[in-house]
């Protein structure tokens, strides 16, 4: 990893890790500079919530379990030896936990994948799901979704030197990859592209880099995460051709959480911590934070 500019600091833990590995003086690969932004942790947070609410319970316990993705750079990624996932979604999780007086190191992270987000919430495996979780009516039948905290849409990722594909209108006849069996892949098939399914997004990105496929498609944020990793080689093009509202999932049995999530998000929008979270993760490639999304009312 290249050295990164100011603004961020080495955590004590990372420094200790560097020390420990330099003593063994063998190989020293990996991400030592696991810097993060400072998180505001509220004091005496438990007093602010009414008795009987889930927030009160969590604040009193001082613990929370949050489900995030582990395989999407910029959004939610955890390397094989990392202690904590990094990315925009975990940052949002830290902001929410902070408002309950829970420090980042007291958060328990769980890997969620697209298929198991609802079961995790229903069975109480996690308290919150912040994992590129689009708000849909079908999902709202079984779980609660607050937010959105981010608005994105299906876009295209191409090599920086590709001038031919500038949007969805250019993909007819070209090869476009995504995850096998995904809706995104179906959508580009309808646009006349040859769909190529892969096991993971990262394998798909490799195919774009190698020039085997012309473009990759899925939610813009996910693409942005990969572009942020390799800004010289990859770029995201075109207007989104679908709208995805990323929401924060909570259990339907705890409807009181919705207002708290929305209030915390509103505050994060106002005090700049939302934008900061974007800048240190998805914004690394130099992309400016997008417009703040409009929150949906919890009464609906």
């Amino acid at each position: 990893m290249r050295p990164r500019p100011t603004l961020r600091r080495f955590t004590a833990a990372a420094a200790a890790a560097v020390l420990a590995t330099s003593i063994t003086a063998c190989g020293n690969a990996g991400n030592d500079d696991s810097e993060t932004r400072d998180v505001d942790v509220a004091e005496n947070a438990a007093d602010e919530f009414e008795d009987g609410t889930r927030m009160k319970e969590l604040a009193e316990d001082g613990k929370i379990t949050i489900g995030v993705k582990y395989d999407q750079p910029g959004l939610g990624f955890k390397g094989a030896t990392d202690d904590m996932p990094r990315g925009f979604d975990p940052e949002i999780g830290k902001i929410l936990a902070g408002s309950l007086g829970i420090a980042p190191e007291d958060i328990t992270w769980k890997e969620t994948i697209s298929d198991n987000r609802e079961p995790f919430l229903q069975e109480g495996e996690v308290d919150l799901v912040i994992a590129t979780y689009s708000i849909t009516d079908e999902r709202r039948q079984v779980v609660g979704q607050a937010g959105p905290y981010y608005v994105t849409g299906q876009q295209l990722l191409v090599r920086s030197d590709n001038d031919e594909i500038n949007g969805v209108e250019d993909i007819k006849g070209s090869e476009v990859c995504s995850v096998t069996g995904s809706t995104s892949l179906d959508n580009v098939k309808k646009e006349g592209a040859k769909p190529r399914g892969f096991d993971t997004y990262s394998e798909c990105v490799d195919q774009v880099l190698d020039g085997t496929v012309d473009a990759m498609t899925t939610d813009g944020t996910i693409l942005l995460g990969y572009a942020a990793e390799q800004p010289d080689d990859l770029k995201v093009v075109g207007e989104p051709f679908s709208e995805e509202l990323y929401g924060i999932g909570y259990s339907k049995d705890r409807p009181e959480m919705c207002q708290w999530i929305n209030d915390t998000l509103t505050q994060a929008f106002e005090d700049g911590s939302w934008e900061e979270a974007f800048d240190v993760t998805l914004g690394e490639s130099g992309v400016d934070a997008p417009e703040k999304p409009e929150l949906q009312s919890c009464d609906a």
Binding site: T24, C26, G27, G30, G79, A80, D115, E125, D199, S202
Partner: protein, 284 residues
């Protein structure tokens, strides 16, 4: 059949010709190796930073953990597959049609469906929706069904390989059907099948790699993680594949040893029907 029966003792001209072949083969091998080394070099795959991760203690731990997961899944699956195989293998040789036919259907079904599809399906059934089982268990379930079906066939053949006269002798002594199976047929069948059993372990071990498709841990999953983090696909694939090869060679050595120890050098080969065997290893 050893080759030398087929040939005359080579004369001077044949010996010379074989020397030419030897040199040509060596040149071809050197060419292939050299070519890959050259490609590795010019594409920068030999740079230290692409390999450093495999010398970093914390990542070595991750790889070893992956190996452990792989072994656990393989052995877990084999142990359960033996149970599965016993039940349906005996079912297939049963005298009752109502046992024989369902056993036959189950065995044929699981032998003809790709393991990957079985994994995806058990993932749908057990990991999402009806109460979460970990992906690791889904891998074990899928491998149990597949390897169990193969082993059922091995058990059936093993039981049939026990000379008929012994069974008749046992009946003549007044043993009942279950007694004959448990005391006469199975012990000998197991002995005959041991090498086939261990080689099925290799099949199971290799198939655990497909678990990466449903996010189960293991060596291939570790490959995904490391290659994604360090963009070192070539070194990572070489290292992980080598680990698989070494572990499988150790298992093969164990199979050979077991064959010599318990079956003897010249065991009667087990005849197993055409369908099924993942890689046509036959019976080793």
């Amino acid at each position: 059949m050893s080759g030398n029966v087929l040939f005359d003792a080579p004369g001077p001209r044949t010996i010379a010709r074989h020397r030419v072949y030897t040199v040509l083969t060596l040149l071809a091998l050197a060419g292939i190796i050299g070519f890959f080394a050259w490609r590795l070099q010019v594409t920068g795959q030999l740079e230290y930073e692409k390999w450093e991760v495999f010398l970093t203690p914390s990542y070595v731990e991750v790889i070893l953990q992956g190996l452990l997961d792989t072994l656990q899944m393989a052995f877990g699956a084999i142990v359960l597959a033996i149970v599965f195989g016993l039940v349906f293998g005996i079912g297939k040789v049963s005298e009752h049609a109502w046992l024989r036919w369902p056993s036959w259907v189950v065995v044929e079904f699981f032998r003809a469906v790709p393991v990957l599809m079985l994994m995806i399906f058990s993932f749908y059934l057990f990991a999402i929706g009806n109460g979460p089982l970990s992906p690791m268990w889904c891998v074990i379930i899928a491998l149990t069904c597949y390897n169990g079906a193969v082993l059922a066939e091995v058990f059936r053949a093993g039981i049939n390989a026990v000379p008929r006269g012994q069974v008749e002798a046992a009946y003549a002594l007044g043993m009942r059907k279950t007694q004959v199976m448990v005391q006469i047929q199975l012990p000998q069948a197991v002995k005959i099948m041991l090498p086939a059993l261990i080689s099925q372990c290799i099949v199971a071990l290799k198939d655990t790699s497909l678990g990466a498709y449903i996010l189960a841990p293991g060596l291939t999953y570790v490959y995904d993680q490391i290659s994604q983090e360090f963009k070192n696909q070539v070194p990572a694939a070489l290292v992980i594949a080598s680990i698989y090869i070494v572990v499988n060679l150790l298992l093969t050595a164990l199979a050979t040893w077991a064959q010599k120890r318990y079956v003897g050098e010249k065991a009667a080969p087990l005849e197993v029907a055409a369908t099924g065997f993942d890689d046509g290893r036959g019976t080793l």
